[in-house]
Symmetry: C2
Subunit: 245 residues, 2 copies
C-alpha cells in the first residue's frame, strides 16, 4: 500500500502546523489557480482523493455540491475531518490510492490536492478515476512539479554572483525519491509532465488545462517570500475531462 | 518579423556544421521519438514550419506524402533545400512564422522541428496552423524544453561532490531569452509547458501526446555523450490534433 506517512506521529505533528493545515484552502498559494480550473460546484457529486482534514470537502458543500466523498489513507486525517463537520452529505472513508475502487460512473468531479506524487501506480489510479466519473466528468488535481521533485538533493543554491538557482539533475530518471520532509524517509514518485499527461490521455481523459503554478503579483505583494517561487515551479495543476471520443 | 538568425553568415556557417545539418534526421537524437508521434504519411498533404535544409520534406515524400510545402524565413536554408531535390511535389516558400498565412483547411499534417521557440506570438501561429489543417489533421512539433531555455545563464554546474546539475532560475518568468549560440544575441522565447499546451487547447487542438525527450539505452550505448541528457530535458515533443468538439 501507499506509504502512510500521515499516520507517522512526527510527520503528522509537523504537518498539522503547516500554514495550509491551520488556515485551510485560503492559506494555500495555489488554491485560487486551482479553483479557477474547477467546474461550477452546484449539484455535483464529488470525490476528493486524499482529503486530509476535509477543507475541500466542506468548501465543495458550501459551493452547492450535492454529495461529497472524502477519501484518505490516514486515520489521523480522517479523524479530524470527521470531527469538523456534522454535514451528512459529506462521507469520509479510508482508502489506499494504490488500491482504490470507486463506484462506476458516479462522480461529476474527482479532485486531488498534492497527493498523487505519493502514488507509485498512477496509471492504475487514473483508470479507476476514469471508471468512477460520469460522462462529461472532470478530474482536477495538483501534484508536486517534477522540477521540484527530480533532483538528487532538492534545494536552493546560491552562485558566486548571488543568483539563487534550483539545480536540476535526474529529471528524466523517473521513479521513487526519498526526502526528509517533516519526517525521515518520505517516499515520492517522480514523473515528467509528459508521463502524467500521457497517462491521462491513455486512460480516457482529454486534457483541458495544464498550469505550472506561478504566484500572482498581488500574492507576492502580500507574501514577499513567494517571490522565489518564480525561479522554479513547485506545483503542477492539471484539469482533464472524460474524453468524449 | 522573426529574427532571421539563419541568414547571419556566422550563425549559418556554424549551423551548417552541426551533426544534424550534415547527417539529417538520422543524426538528431530526438528524431525516432518524434517519428513515433507522426501519422502514417502515405497520401498526406504536409506543411513543414521552418523546413531548414528540407530533410523532413524529402523524408515525408519518401514515406508517401502526396504534397509537401516547406516554409522557412531563411534564404540560406531555402537555397540549399531547393538545390537538394528535383521533386516537384515539394514546394519551398519563404515565410515569416510571425506573419504566416496558410491556405485554409488544406493540410493533413503540420510539422515543425526546433523552430517555435523563435516565435514571439505563438498563439497567433497556432491559430493559423489550426486554420490550415483539414478535419482530423495533426500538428506534431519539437521545441526547446523550458528547463533548457529558462535560466539566466543556461549551462551545467558541477557541485563540490562532482554532481553535474542544470541550475534553473526564472522558470516562471516567460519572455525573451538572449543567448550566444553559434552567434551573439540569438533571441528565443521562453514559455512553460503549461502555456504551450494551453495555447494549443485554446486555439482548437486536442492534446494527443507530450514527451520530454529522453535518449534510449541503445542511443546512449552508441553515443555515450547522450548520458548527460538524463539530467535535464533539452527538447519538448508535442502531438496534437484538430479538436473534434
Amino acid at each position: 500500500m501507499t506509504q502512510n506517512i500521515y499516520d507517522n506521529a512526527e510527520f503528522f505533528a509537523g504537518y498539522s502546523q503547516l500554514g495550509r493545515s491551520v488556515g485551510g484552502l485560503a492559506a494555500a498559494a495555489e488554491w485560487p489557480a486551482l479553483w479557477a480550473m474547477l467546474p461550477e460546484m452546484r449539484g455535483l457529486t464529488v470525490v476528493d482523493l486524499g482529503c486530509g482534514f476535509g477543507w475541500f470537502c466542506r468548501w465543495a458543500r458550501e459551493q452547492g455540491a450535492t454529495q461529497v466523498l472524502g477519501l484518505d489513507v490516514s486515520e489521523n486525517m480522517l479523524g479530524r475531518a470527521r470531527a469538523e463537520t456534522s454535514d451528512t452529505a459529506i462521507v469520509y472513508e479510508r482508502a489506499d490510492m494504490e488500491r482504490l475502487v470507486l463506484p462506476a460512473t458516479t462522480f461529476d468531479l474527482a479532485y486531488s490536492s498534492l497527493v498523487l506524487h505519493y502514488v507509485a501506480d498512477l496509471g492504475r489510479l487514473f483508470a479507476e478515476v476514469r471508471r468512477g466519473l460520469a460522462p462529461g466528468g472532470a478530474f482536477v488535481f495538483s501534484i508536486e512539479h517534477p522540477i521540484y521533485m527530480a533532483p538528487t538533493a532538492p534545494g536552493w543554491s546560491v552562485d558566486a554572483t548571488g543568483r539563487k538557482t534550483w539545480p536540476v539533475d535526474r529529471y528524466l530518471v523517473e521513479g521513487p525519491r526519498t526526502t526528509n520532509w517533516l519526517a525521515e524517509g518520505v517516499i515520492k514518485h517522480h514523473r515528467t509532465i509528459g508521463t502524467t499527461i500521457n497517462l491521462l490521455i491513455r486512460t480516457g481523459f482529454e486534457i483541458a488545462h495544464v498550469e505550472e503554478f506561478c504566484p500572482t503579483e498581488e500574492q507576492i505583494s502580500a507574501r514577499p517570500e513567494l517571490l522565489e517561487e518564480l525561479e522554479r515551479p513547485m506545483f503542477l495543476l492539471v484539469a482533464a475531462r472524460v474524453s468524449s471520443t
